[in-house]
Amino acid sequence: MTRRRFAPLLPMAAVLICAPAPATGQSDFEGIWTSASVVPLERPAHLKGKEFYTKEEAAENAKRVLGMTSWERLGSQAPEHYNMSQYGLDLSQVKVAATLRTSLIVGPDGRVPPLTPEAQKRSAERAARNRGHQFDGPENRPLQERCIIYSTEGPPMQPSAYNSNLQIVQGTGYVAIVQEMIHSTRIIPTDGRPHLPPDICQWLGDSRGHWEGHTLVVDTTNFTDKAPFRGSTASLHLVERFTRVDDDTIIYEFTADDLATWTRPWTAQVTLARIDGPLFEFACHEGNLGIANTLKGARAAEKQ
């Protein structure tokens, strides 16, 4: 393992394209990458108005975040949870791309925009429906607990608590993205074909890619209400932009737009750092004893 643990600090406000382009003229995104980050999605209140750290501040923030214990990272789950670092799952044990950003969300605010009144009502109704029924059966459990999709695998792709690993493969007319957590492969046609008919909804939406210079732009629609992204609806329109900035770094940016959910579109930027492979199979459903055990625990609690 000769790779540095941290990718070089990048001045994100002024990204330079210096990655070599293959013979096709398209940038080469192939490889295994991690989205692991020491920066939260939303900017902490005390950094309001400050979009970038200085280099020294960024290093200090990384040191602080990587210095947290696994119990601190787990927050409310800490008492019953296993020791993350003992199992190699702690953020301090993986490569993390350095960044000067103070939040993944770009712009002076750095926060997810307020929910529309319609979205607030929808969210309250959803919570009311589920209240007291969280353990009725497997259908009441979160999608990731059921090994259907992981909450951060996207689109849009976000750093996860662990295993933020993905692989990008390019072929003629297609780009594919494999997520280790939980197992999904997103196949993105880049041949100009239209989106699926609007009445077809998919867990990962329907992605279409095209090239704008060296940047791969992916447009995704046809989401499902069953997998809301921060309260979004099936009308979510997502645009992702992949830009290779050096041999070991991709800047991945997404803009989420759903007027039924947020008062305005919002954009976040994640740094993907190259890591050594391989990506391992994650046969989640086949080995998912946790869902049955969780329901057994609920049935036992009801008898008390």
Binding site: R73, H81, Y82, Y87, A161, F280, G287, L289, G290, A300
Partner: protein, 136 residues
């Protein structure tokens, strides 16, 4: 600026909620914080499966009776990256498990911390960064 930043960072607890901390499932729903376990046992089988590995151990109770327990741990993917393979924990190994028992009272628990009988932490003997450092 440095002083100001240090003061702000001292309140790190206020920032924790901002990080993506979701685990694969709710441990609090599966295990009972009021039922801590600490047991010594002999490995009988390894369930080298995702999303969680499972270690099966035979534990001798105070009455001399042997009971088989299932211990839940982290994903094999991460353990492989530490250089820890299934062969590194052979059947017959004696280990000590600390954690919490399942809420339904069955012989199942979470392996919050797992050690070999001589005190070495399981898994951390591999190539993990900080493997020989203080436990986090």
């Amino acid at each position: 600026m440095r002083t100001k930043l240090t003061i702000v960072l001292a309140s790190a607890g206020l920032l924790l909620a901002a990080w993506p901390l979701r685990a694969h499932h709710s441990f609090a729903a599966e295990f009972d914080v009021h039922r801590p376990i600490k047991m010594r046992g002999t490995v009988t089988r390894l369930g080298w499966i995702n999303p969680h590995s499972w270690i099966y151990i035979d534990v001798k109770g105070p009455d001399g009776k042997i009971v088989n327990w299932m211990i839940e741990g982290g994903s094999p993917n991460a353990l492989l990256r530490l250089g820890f393979t299934k062969d590194a924990l052979p059947v017959g190994s004696e280990i000590v498990v600390e954690g919490f028992q399942a809420k339904d009272g069955s012989n199942r628990g979470v392996g919050q911390s797992v050690s070999f009988a001589d005190g070495r932490k399981l898994f951390l003997g591999g190539s993990a960064p900080g493997a020989n450092g203080p436990e986090k």
